[in-house]
């Protein structure tokens, strides 16, 4: 019952809506009168001529006016992204590069430190001196 009443009122509202929509429009006679306004075509011609000139001569101006806004914006974006990339790469711990110190353990204390502290390769004389000294120790 209520549904029936609702549907009737709904139909009625839709009908009223159509009447309102149709009431809002201009009649053909009124539209004709407005369309017959004097100098309407002359005004259109003038605007076409004006816009045509703008399209021909104002192309570079239009490009410039766009560039004036776009270039600073792009520069800001570039600077911002550069700064952000610097910030993030600076915070990241660098992967340890190959270091002779780490490999040889020169930072450690003890015998290894003495043996491997020397970064440069041993010379022949040094090798010979080491052999001789060890032979001497054995000879004693």
């Amino acid at each position: 019952m209520t549904q029936g009443k609702d549907s009737i009122s709904r139909e009625r509202l839709d009908h009223a809506g159509r009447i309102i929509t149709k009431a809002s429009i201009l009649s053909g006679q009124e539209a004709s009168e407005i369309a017959a306004a004097p100098f309407l075509f002359a005004r259109i011609q003038a605007r076409i001529a004006g816009e045509g000139q703008f399209l021909d001569a104002g192309l570079w101006m239009a490009f410039w006016s766009i560039s004036k806004r776009a270039i600073p914006a792009m520069m800001i974006v570039a600077a911002l992204s550069f700064g952000l990339s610097l910030y993030f790469t600076g915070n990241k711990s660098q992967p340890p590069a190959f270091s002779v110190d780490a490999y040889l353990g020169t930072n450690e204390s003890g015998v290894e430190n003495l043996v491997f502290a020397e970064k440069r390769p041993l010379t022949r004389d040094e090798v010979l001196a080491t052999i001789i000294s060890s032979d001497r120790e054995l000879g004693r």
Binding site: S24, L40, F41
Partner: protein, 197 residues
């Protein structure tokens, strides 16, 4: 825009378009004479003041002039249909501009107008509804409360008598969009009218 020759009055729209693209201003004037009333009528579906309608007519023909080269290449529809599409789109843009510039409220209605709307929507019998006259200003005032899309769809459905498919083709919208928009437009208008009951 120097006239090159005077084409006969029996020239078709397509012939006149070709001449305009070649640079003949008189052909464009002929196109204007043929179609200005229809464009004004379309503008009159949405606006009631002559300066607004004249502006829509001007905008429509200016856009048509600069788009004629593309139209003559595409050969998709008739010139009248293409021009109507430009006109409806111009009206739609103008409605959107207006809705952005000012938000209309129910409080804008004076008591006499409320009474008139109440008589239209109240339970006074279907026969009297047909005979009820409603002031155009009041109708405009009420329809301004709807969104631009709602208003456009309602006019295309109820005044122009177009089908959903035709509206979709005219406005370049998808079928579901038109259906949803039509449903929402009717619901919104119904809700609006209920407030006056």
């Amino acid at each position: 825009m120097e006239p090159t020759h005077d084409p006969s009055n029996e020239s078709s729209d397509a012939d006149l378009v070709t001449e305009v693209v070649k640079g003949d201003a008189t052909s464009f004037e002929q196109l204007f004479e043929r179609h200005r009333q229809r464009v004004a009528l379309i503008a009159g579906r949405f606006f009631q003041h002559s300066p607004q309608i004249e502006e829509i007519v001007q905008e429509t023909f200016i856009k048509a002039y600069f788009g004629l080269a593309n139209f003559s290449q595409s050969k998709a529809n008739s010139f009248a249909h293409w021009l109507a599409r430009i006109a409806f789109n111009n009206c739609y843009d103008e409605l959107r501009r207006q809705s952005r510039s000012r938000k209309w409220m129910l409080t804008d209605f004076v008591e006499v107008e409320r009474q008139q709307l109440r008589s239209l929507t109240g339970d006074v019998g279907a026969t009297t509804l047909e005979s009820t006259t409603i002031n155009r200003d009041l109708a405009h005032k009420l329809l301004r409360l709807l969104s631009a899309e709602d208003r456009l769809v309602l006019v295309l459905l109820d005044v122009e008598g177009l089908s959903v498919a035709e509206i979709a083709q005219l406005m370049g919208w998808s079928l579901p969009k038109v259906k949803i928009r039509a449903f929402r437009a009717r619901t919104d208008l119904r809700r609006l009218l209920k407030k006056f009951l």
